[in-house]
């Protein structure tokens, strides 16, 4: 039986179509994916992300330990800032891609994908050093995201000025009694937005507060369906589809998250060698030039030769056409390269395009930067 999140009753009352997502019963959609998607692009949407995992790393060597675990660099990261980073295995494959919250050099939090909570926890324990404590807080915290150009005024109304005036990729934590709520200006939609971690006992009141604050602005509850199409348009990777234990950050095109200047980290040797020799395959963004919808596992062809596979694909509600990510042989990864996608036996024309498909204009959304 899939687990219910603290917001299960709220979703039922809103008429959500619930689905089993990695063991959690979550809304796939409330109305339609397109409507919820466009609400986030034009106004604001609210998501229950309570399935996400939170793992706390603390102790005198917490930062030193994290620096060995992640490929990105948290050494110079100020307290109160957030960092996106892969965690790699010795082969350079991605164990998970996570969001790292630095409270201090002695206390950090990793937000991990729900399907990987146990795997990441065990990976941390396996590599644990002295003077480091690893705690899985996933069952104690729920997570709610508010995303979209109107998310700042909504969050200001619900949670106050200090939260709403956060800069991009910064966070604040608020203590109410023993409970701690963390609010960051982050997201997975390509829009301005906030992610809020709150004790499970307070999820319902937090959800209600945000829903009420956003009512006039047109805030809509949005499900996992819209979350997936939004992140795909924004060129953000989905673990299990676009990256996994066998793909490296260099192949996935997130080279900027691998900091070779660091003294050492797990996977460094392999990644360094791969950087020197060049990658064999590369993650690309593609758009169909014919009508059709590319989906995961569809094969990609050039001149009747299979050169790769789609890892994520959809009908883009914003651009109203088929878009996808996938791996192809490196020599076919240049922007503009014509390709074909085999959809149910038909080879449909496509071309490599620059990612992200959707990029936020600077004159909206991140105006507080």
């Amino acid at each position: 039986m899939p687990r219910q999140t603290p917001l299960y009753s709220a979703h039922k009352a809103l008429g959500a179509n619930l689905t089993d997502f990695h063991g959690f019963l979550l809304p796939l959609e409330y109305t339609t994916i397109s409507e919820e998607h466009l609400a986030v692009r034009n106004k604001a949407g609210i998501f229950d992300l309570s399935h996400m995992g939170e793992i706390e790393v603390s102790g005198g060597d917490a930062l030193g330990f994290i620096q060995r675990i992640i490929t990105n660099d948290a050494q110079g990261l100020p307290d109160g800032k957030v960092l996106y980073t892969p965690i790699c295995n010795e082969r350079g494959g991605i164990v998970d891609d996570v969001i790292l919250y630095r409270f201090s050099a002695e206390r950090l939090m990793l937000v991990v994908n729900s399907a990987n909570i146990q795997k990441v926890f065990e990976w941390l324990i396996e590599n644990q050093t002295q003077d480091v404590a690893v705690n899985d807080l996933s069952n104690e915290y729920g997570m709610i995201a508010v995303q979209g150009p109107l998310s700042a005024p909504i969050v200001e109304k619900a949670l106050g000025r200090d939260a709403a005036s956060l800069k991009h990729f910064h966070f604040v934590s608020k203590k109410e009694g023993t409970a701690c709520t963390v609010i960051s200006r982050t997201g997975y939609t390509g829009e301005d937005g906030f992610e809020i971690y709150t004790p499970t006992s307070q999820c319902v009141s937090m959800w209600d507060r945000l829903m009420k604050a956003g009512k006039q602005a047109g805030l809509l509850p949005a499900g996992l369906g819209a979350r997936d199409t939004l992140r795909l348009e924004a060129g953000l990777l989905l673990y299990g589809n676009d990256i996994d234990d066998s793909t490296t950050p260099l192949e996935a095109g997130i080279d900027w998250t691998v900091k070779f200047h660091k003294e050492d980290f797990i996977g460094k040797a392999v990644l360094l060698a791969q950087k020197a020799s060049g990658v064999q395959r590369k993650l690309i963004g593609l758009e169909l030039v014919e009508r059709g919808i590319p989906r995961a596992e569809h094969h990609i062809f050039v001149d009747s030769n299979m050169v790769g596979k789609v890892t994520s694909g959809t009908h883009s509600p914003f651009f109203k056409k088929g878009i996808a990510m996938g791996y192809v042989e490196e020599r076919y990864s240049k922007v503009g390269t014509p390709l074909c996608v085999d959809i149910r036996g038909k080879e449909l024309g496509a071309r490599v395009v620059k990612m992200p498909f959707y990029r936020l204009k600077t004159d909206r959304g991140f105006s507080t930067l």
Partner: protein, 130 residues
């Protein structure tokens, strides 16, 4: 939910309207389009192509998934609703009218007897809900 009684249904959620001339119009039921939600693409069958009953012949896609359409009765495709190429949402808006998918010239109209009545199909849909 709408279950018109002047048409027949299949377990795979197609509807069939016959005109008595050996021809039938086929579409996707209101129940199915509601389950699929936002229909954004339809792969239509080719006019002139012959199918046997229960062969897959078209695909209706929502943002989240692709859904096969099966031929309810054997025959030859004589017309397809090309308006759906530009307006696939007609399947959502008017499933029993403007959202029709194809017309078929039946080779064995006896097969119509195997289709479901509105009442039977309605029961089937209700059972499918939780």
């Amino acid at each position: 939910m709408d279950f018109p009684t002047d048409i027949s249904y299949t377990e795979t959620h197609e509807w069939v309207r016959t005109s008595g001339s050996g021809k039938a119009v086929v579409g996707l039921t209101a129940y199915a389009q509601q389950q699929l939600r936002d229909v954004v693409f339809i792969e239509l069958p080719k006019v002139g192509k012959k199918f046997r009953a229960k062969d897959p012949c078209a695909v209706v896609e929502s943002v989240k998934a692709a859904f096969d359409i099966y031929v309810p009765v054997s025959g030859e495709i004589i017309e397809v609703n090309t308006e759906l190429e530009d307006r696939p949402e007609l399947v959502n808006e008017d499933p029993y009218g403007k959202g029709w998918i194809f017309k078929i010239n039946m080779s064995n109209p006896n097969e119509l007897k195997a289709l479901l009545s509105a009442e039977t199909y309605k029961k089937l849909c209700e059972k499918g809900k939780h």
